[in-house]
């Protein structure tokens, strides 16, 4: 009996045996908090059409997700910051980064009497966070905001105090656009902030910004939109001032695809992307999946779920405040998913075999 007929038979058997007798596949994941809302939504929706697969995701943070995934405590992980080369080497390279949706980070501010969105260039933004531009009516801010009267007020920087993928995206962006930032501070889920107050979580930063006149702080785009916080328009690499929106975030990923190439491991930063309409502080969020699993049933169920999320699941993204991936990315993801094996055999042959 060759493999396909065996599979077909197994599927037939599975379909024939009523409910309770089919083994339920339980898949556990843990990691980033940012995609938690859409992951929970996906898992619930997927379970309704695939009652034999039960998925569970705990939003414990990217760092915790990487740790649990590496220790083998969970079947898959979630992260906003890709694993480092050394972390990948530590688990023998047995990991794939599969992007699921896109997020963006915006600079929300609190300026009374300024109705128009404030425009900022990347070098001014970096200097604000470095503590070198300290007044809202600084000549460098005023020159890019002609027609807007900016108050003579101290700029109070607010950053995350907890380790966070949001901070990673923000510091990654600042590192790319400012050599001084890259050298003095660097990028990471937590960094040594040159100035400012720390708020716990998006809600902590948002609350502090709201309560502090003259404050500027970075929060997730979705969070700023839901809470109707004003945020700055940023100038991207092409020189255009771009408002952060789901479209301009997807455009950032599309713009970065040229640099990635079809053989990418997806561990790429898409901040400061080249697209004309690309918002510069955008990022993938990834699922961490092993290249090889011991349990082929588990691996197959996981891959099928991920492929569903990359197709049907994407439609749910905008309403939940996430930017969908560019469609052009799907063939690349499919290739990666097909390469996953269990017991030396590929667990999934692509959508046609379903």
């Amino acid at each position: 009996m060759n493999r396909t007929t065996f599979l077909a038979l197994a599927a037939l058997l599975g379909a024939a045996v009523p409910g309770g007798a089919t083994a339920q596949t339980q898949l556990n994941g843990a990691g980033a908090t940012f995609p938690n809302i859409i992951y929970q939504n996906w898992m619930l929706a997927y379970n309704q059409t695939h009652p034999d697969v039960k998925l569970n995701y705990q939003s414990i943070g990217s760092g915790g997700g990487i740790r649990q995934f590496s220790d083998g405590t969970v079947d898959f992980g979630g992260t906003d910051a890709p694993m480092t080369d050394s972390a990948i080497a530590a688990i023998g390279g047995n990991v794939l980064h599969i992007p699921t949706v896109l997020g963006a980070v915006v600079a929300a501010y609190n300026l009374e009497g300024v109705a128009q969105p404030v425009r900022l260039t990347s070098d001014v933004l970096a200097d604000i966070f470095l503590g070198k531009v300290t007044k809202w009516n600084d000549a460098r801010i005023a020159s890019i905001n002609s027609g807007v009267t900016l108050p003579n007020q101290d700029i109070i920087v607010v950053h995350r105090s907890d380790g966070s993928g949001t901070s990673f995206v923000w510091t990654d962006y600042l590192s790319k656009v400012s050599p001084e930032w890259s050298q003095k501070v660097g990028k990471g889920p937590s960094v040594n902030w040159p100035v400012g107050l720390g708020g716990r979580g998006n809600e902590g930063v948002a609350a502090t910004v709201r309560q502090t006149p003259g404050a500027i702080g970075y929060v997730e785009l979705g969070y700023a939109l839901i809470n109707k916080m004003p945020f700055a328009t940023l100038r991207n690499q092409s020189g255009n001032f771009v408002v952060a929106s789901l479209e301009s975030v997807t455009a950032a990923a599309a713009g970065a695809m040229k640099d990635m190439g079809a053989t990418t491991d997806f561990r790429v930063s898409i901040t400061n992307s080249a697209g004309a309409q690309a918002y510069p502080a955008a990022s993938f969020t990834w699922l961490l999946i092993h290249k090889t699993y011991d349990d082929s049933a588990k691996a197959r169920a996981l891959v099928q779920f991920v492929w569903w999320a990359e197709n049907d699941g994407q439609a749910k993204a905008p309403e939940l405040g996430y930017a969908p991936l560019p469609k052009e990315l799907r063939p690349w993801i499919q290739t990666r998913l097909k390469s996953i094996t269990a017991g030396g055999r590929a667990v999934w042959k692509g959508p046609a075999t379903e």
Binding site: G63, S190, G198, R200, A207, T208
Partner: protein
């Protein structure tokens, strides 16, 4: 509490030699009693053992950081997860400073409440007010934090800081720009949180002061306030110190409410207007995303320091109580 009274118990025939009380002679008389006693002893010893295990785990997990940074961890101020350079001085300072500030505000307040409730309040008012004060302890700390951000900080910014600056701005303690999230806000939130603990225990202590103390003072011609000051408070001082230490212990370990208002900045500033950080807040904030081993180990070392600081504070308090309790004041044996 106190040892059992050395009195004959009615209904139990006396047949034991004198010198040993009848109650004590019953101990261990029965087999089930002995088993019960051993089980209780085991449970009682398990708790100190747990503390030792806790200390051991913290120590072992901090070893990489201890080896790499040594004593400089305690005195340097850089906390840079990117470069993997860690120094906890600002957090140690912030923890002690915010707790001290909290005591400075909470102790007079809580003692006033306790004295008012036991000595001066009309009888019908005592229970309701005591109940409401104790209710403060039941509010979750995240609610305090939220209240701190949305009510306390704007209030401080508008009504408290400008006059403070005008009067005391020349001292280094009230210097600089007030951003809102600050040591001052953290200290006040902590003070509100520990008032109910200090007030409740102090009230119990004062209630336990014998009426004869007050009567004696009043008979000597003292006013009511003089009676409180010269007879009641000295009598209960060991218990009152114990109440304050209980509040301090709570303040040192409080995490959520503090991190929401203190500004979370790794910096040492003498001004209460500056943002600060506490050890408990840093651990809670950074633990989940501490991706490298050294980062994690540094956080464990912060936990170890917090543990040691708490133990030292409690030990000092215990010594203090022993010293003032020599005259067998109220509550000293309970604490």
């Amino acid at each position: 509490m106190t040892s059992l009274p050395n009195l004959p118990i009615e209904g139990i025939p006396s047949g034991r030699p004198s010198g040993e009380t009848r109650w004590q002679s019953l101990l261990g008389a029965d087999r089930s009693d002995r088993i019960y006693r051993r089980v209780l002893t085991g449970i009682a010893l398990a708790l100190p053992a747990l503390i030792l295990v806790l200390f051991g785990v913290l120590f072992v997990e901090s070893l990489p950081a201890l080896k790499r940074f040594g004593p400089s961890f305690l005195v340097t101020s850089t906390w840079d997860p990117v470069a993997e350079v860690y120094g906890a001085a600002p957090m140690i300072f912030g923890t002690l400073a915010s707790s001290f500030l909290a005591l400075l505000i909470a102790v007079p307040l809580a003692l006033s409440v306790a004295i008012f409730l036991t000595e001066f309040a009309p009888r019908w008012l005592r229970q309701p007010v005591a109940f409401l004060v104790e209710l403060l302890a039941a509010i979750p700390s995240v609610v305090y934090g939220t209240w701190g951000i949305f009510v306390l900080i704007p209030f401080l910014r508008t009504y408290v800081v400008p006059p403070l600056k005008a009067v005391l701005g020349w001292t280094p303690f009230f210097n600089g720009v007030f951003y809102g999230n600050s040591l001052l806000a953290g200290g006040i939130i902590l003070a509100i949180m520990i008032v109910p603990y200090i007030a409740a225990v102090s009230r119990e202590v004062l209630l336990a002061v014998p009426t004869s103390q007050r009567e004696a003072a009043l008979a000597m011609g003292a006013t009511r306030w003089e009676a409180v000051r010269s007879a009641v408070l000295p009598y209960g001082r060991a218990g009152l110190i114990g109440a304050i230490i209980l509040g301090l212990g709570r303040a040192l370990g409080e995490t959520m409410a503090v991190t929401m208002v203190i500004g979370n900045r790794h910096d040492i500033g003498i001004s209460v207007f500056q943002p600060a950080y506490t050890m408990a807040a840093a651990i809670a904030n950074e633990f989940s995303e501490a991706t490298t081993d050294m980062y994690l180990s540094a956080l464990f070392e912060v936990g170890l320091i917090l543990f040691v600081v708490t133990v030292v504070v409690n030990a000092v308090a215990r010594i203090l109580i022993w010293r003032v309790a020599k005259d067998a004041a109220v509550g000293s044996k309970a604490l």
